[in-house]
């Protein structure tokens, strides 16, 4: 498993490209379960983030971890991103960073 590469910016749709690799995503928390957080990706897809973050959680969270399936991330790093966040811009960033301007990103 390649974990040496830095985390790629992903939204829900892009997650499947990076299965087994390190990703970062901003999610809107829907609910917290034991050992996982159910959230919504910036492109409105439901994502399960495994792991146990330190509460309290803000509305938006950035998670960095390994993409396990096309809708699961095993998170290593949890960062509170506050309660107001421009989801749309982030989603555009994800698209650009994985599309036309991919060469600009590590």
């Amino acid at each position: 498993m390649d974990t040496s590469s830095p985390a790629a910016f992903v939204n829900g749709a892009l997650l499947r490209r990076y299965i087994g690799q390190k990703v970062r995503a901003v999610i809107q928390v829907i609910r917290s379960d034991v050992g996982s957080v159910i959230g919504k990706s910036t492109d409105d897809q439901q994502i399960v983030v495994k792991g146990s973050p330190q509460p309290p959680l803000t509305t938006y969270l950035e998670v960095i971890g390994i993409a396990e399936t096309d809708n699961t991330i095993r998170a290593e790093v949890w960062t509170n991103f506050g309660d107001s966040f421009d989801v749309q811009n982030y989603n555009e960033l994800c698209k650009l960073a994985n599309g036309e301007f991919r060469h600009l990103f590590i």
Binding site: D86, N89, E92, F101, L104
Partner: protein, 784 residues
């Protein structure tokens, strides 16, 4: 074997798009072959052929190496060939395809389709009979290409018709007459092109179409008594003349009264096949006689009448004369349609051009209606009420202008435009003969002879629509009309380098722009001035007051002294974005917004309490924050030096979310432009740099000058260093004081002038920054 011809190949060869096999290897059909003798060397035989792509025909010359193909019968009329080597060349003004190598795909085949000579339509017979060459070599002598088609036979057959009216014959449905009408209607098409859009049509038709009366055989003259001359050839010295022209506009019959009595007058405008236009005026009985006969859009033969100088006040047509009809004049309607005479003639100018045009100029303009306002009633000076309606028109020049409709236009065209706009579409509007007025900036108003065309069927309209769909919708437009820019607030986002590159502020009026930039540096020793607090109307005088030395302050303007003065900001800032840095001045309100403390309080912190620590703290908070600055950029003169000065009108703390959206929009625009494979212009590379600034990375394609710019951008935190780097670095030695190239700032004549306000702006204080060297942000404060 089924072979298909390369569709459109002839068209591409004709217009020069395809000149060799490197551009395209077309499959074409040979419709005719003809042996010719070279004039200079009769022993060398060559074959000329007619090539067809199924739609059009084109002349080709077979390379001599291939003569045996013809002789052995491999290549014959009807053969389908692939041009594996060929050159499209212009010989004696005509385009000919020379084919040194070809591959015969099919020896004989029926003629495919109904090809017609290149660029011409509706010759059905060309296909049936093939085209016979005119072997008398008269092509080179200035006779049009169409004349080459069966001239020997058609001369006799068609001349009565051509000569009779000096114009085309109406297209008839029977094949035979169609063939006859081909030459003249072919001319018609060309001529129309010529009138509408000369630059693009020239390549198709290298020889300009001769005037109507040229090339008529003697037969024509015999049976056609009136000699039709072009409108542009009319002069007071023309004797007996007849013109054939279309009525493009007709004014109402007007009653007038002047010292010499009463009368009535009406006029109409004519346009002929050569694009000549002229106004015709009729008075009194003559007016009555012709008024009903004249219908806009119809063709007329008009003869006799006197020519007099055009009254340019009322007559904006491009003709120095106008025709006055009298009792002897005749007007005869032509019932045969002549496509050669356009229905309208426009001389479109872009809205951008209007900006520099004089008041009262008459202009034709076409654009997209972006908004329209309801009709209002205006009372004229003479007490009569008239409806008025205004709309915003924008075009590819990135400008928009207010078009004001008066009178009947409001209800007719205005209502239609209104309902189109209401239904969410953006119609194209062509204004023929609008008058430029300088009411509220520049506006275009309708006049009596104006004509409005909604979603017209022109190339220009099509282009505009496409542009609007592609990018025009989202491109911000600068309005030439003040009212709109005031309320609509088109926020023109620029980069700092654009101030210099686009020479902002150097025109008559100041430029208002918004830049997103970081405050790099503030000048502290004179951040405010002592101002006169005496109220003058509803606002304080605010002029500078001088210390009398006894604790009172004197204002020269008010001629009074006050015990306590006001303190107002006059903040000199250095701001930087990813493209460049510049100096700006922020006055009271903007200054307060930036500093977050009133000038008076700050003054007290520094000079009364001498709390250096707190002062530095305030300053440090301000430095390196990003704002959206609304700037007024204007060139001003200080002691004979022209300087572009930027004043902060308004500051807003950066809204990162909104700013990101703006950047995404800009990138989107850039990408669509790249997709259209247009060259990246300086603006484009600025957008690239935009990307860089967000920390995403570098795209690596940049011209040297902007690399240099970017370099110091990276050293943003050390402004001293950046100053040095900027003035000394790179191949382009330009002065960072005055912006001129050719000397560096140390030698800049502008930098040695006494330090007054404008001087700072120019950047002599950039020199100061350089002197204390690249340091930590804290040193910005410490050095003072």
């Amino acid at each position: 074997m089924e072979v298909s011809l390369t569709a459109g190949a002839i068209g591409k060869i004709m217009n020069g798009e395809v000149t060799t096999e490197a551009d395209m290897i077309p499959v074409l059909q040979v419709t005719d072959l003809k042996q010719i003798m070279a004039q200079q060397d009769p022993t060398r035989e060559r074959f000329r052929m007619v090539l067809s792509d199924g739609t059009y025909l084109h002349q080709g010359m077979l390379g001599t190496d291939l003569n045996n193909l013809v002789k052995e019968g491999t290549l014959q009329p009807g053969s389908i060939v692939r041009l594996t080597r060929f050159v499209g060349d212009v010989i004696k003004g005509r385009r000919i395809v020379i084919v040194p190598q070809l591959e015969v795909l099919k020896q004989i085949s029926d003629i495919i389709g109904h090809p017609v000579p290149g660029g011409k339509h509706n010759d059905q017979r060309g296909a049936d009979s093939g085209i016979k060459f005119n072997t008398t070599e008269q092509q080179g002598s200035g006779i049009r290409q169409v004349n080459n088609i069966e001239p020997g036979r058609s001369n006799a057959a068609i001349s009565p018709q051509v000569g009779g009216t000096g114009s085309s014959v109406p297209a008839s449905t029977t094949p035979s007459t169609r063939a006859y009408s081909n030459p003249s209607s072919g001319n018609g098409v060309t001529r129309q092109d010529y009138a509408r859009d000369p630059p693009t049509s020239y390549p198709h038709q290298p020889q300009p179409p001769p005037p109507m009366y040229a090339n008529r055989g003697p037969v024509a003259r015999n049976e056609a008594p009136p000699k039709i001359i072009p409108v542009n050839a009319l002069s007071p010295y023309s004797g007996r003349w007849t013109i054939k022209a279309r009525v493009t506009n007709k004014a109402a019959l007007k009653q007038y009264s002047n010292p010499r009595g009463e009368g009535k007058v009406f006029n109409f405008d004519l346009l002929d096949a050569d694009g000549g236009e002229i106004r015709v005026t009729c008075f009194n009985a003559v007016a009555d006689q012709f008024y009903d006969q004249i219908v806009v859009g119809n063709l007329y033969l008009i003869s006799r009448g006197s020519l007099r100088p055009a009254q340019k006040n009322f007559n904006h047509l491009r003709n120095d004369y106008e025709i006055m009809l009298d009792n002897a004049s005749t007007i005869k309607q032509c019932y045969e349609e002549d496509a050669a005479i356009p229905r309208h003639q426009f001389h479109f100018r872009t809205i951008g051009d209007i900006e520099s045009m004089e008041n009262n100029c008459i202009v034709d303009v076409i654009g997209i209606v972006s908004s329209i306002s309801p009709t209002v009633t205006i009372t004229r000076k003479n007490g009569t009420a008239t409806p008025k309606r205004s709309l915003q028109l924008k075009d590819m020049s990135g400008r928009s202008v207010e078009v004001t409709m008066w009178g009947d236009f409001c209800n007719a065209e205005g209502q239609r435009l209104q309902s189109l706009c209401d239904s969410g579409v953006f119609p194209v509007l062509a204004v023929k003969a609008g008058r430029i007025s300088e009411f509220n900036g520049k506006t275009v108003s309708t006049i009596g002879s104006s004509q409005l065309f909604i979603d017209p069927d022109f190339v220009e309209a099509e282009k505009l629509k496409n542009w609007f769909e592609r990018e025009g919708k989202s491109v911000p437009c600068i309005s030439l009309s003040r009212e709109f820019s005031g309320s609509g607030k088109v926020d023109v986002r620029k980069t700092i380098s654009q101030i210099k590159d686009e020479k902002l502020g150097t025109s008559e009026k100041p430029d208002w722009i918004t830049v997103s930039a970081t405050i790099l540096y503030l000048k502290f020793d004179n951040f405010c001035y002592t101002a006169c607090p005496i109220m003058n109307g509803d606002r304080p005088c605010s002029k500078k007051v001088t210390d009398n030395g006894d604790g009172t302050w004197r204002c020269e303007k008010c001629d009074k002294s006050v015990d306590e003065c006001d303190y107002r900001y006059i903040l000199q800032l250095q701001i930087q974005d990813h493209t460049d840095l510049t100096c700006v001045t922020a006055f009271q309100e903007a200054g307060e917004e930036i500093m977050g403390i009133s000038a008076k309080d700050l003054y007290y912190v520094k000079n009364e309490h001498k709390d250096e620590e707190k002062f530095e703290d305030i300053i440090r908070k301000v430095a390196f924050t990003k704002y959206n600055f609304k700037l007024k950029v204007k060139e001003e003169t200080f002691s004979d030096e022209q300087r572009v000065k930027a004043t902060v009108v308004k500051v807003d703390k950066l809204n990162y979310s909104a700013d990101t959206r703006t950047m995404l929009g800009a990138m989107d625009k850039l990408r669509t432009r790249d997709a259209n494979s247009l060259p990246i212009n300086p603006e484009g590379s600025d957008y690239n740099a935009d990307v860089v600034n967000t920390g995403i990375g570098s795209s690596g394609t940049r011209d040297p000058s902007s690399v240099q710019r970017r370099d110091f951008g990276l050293h943003a935190h050390q402004s001293g260093q950046s100053g040095n780097h900027y003035s000394g670095g790179g191949a382009t030695t330009s002065c960072n004081v005055c912006g001129n190239s050719g000397h560096v700032s140390a030698k800049c004549p502008g930098a040695t002038k006494p330090q007054e306000q404008g001087q700072y702006m120019g950047g002599s204080y950039r020199g100061t920054t350089g002197s204390y060297g690249g340091g930590l942000p804290r040193q910005h404060v410490g050095s003072y």
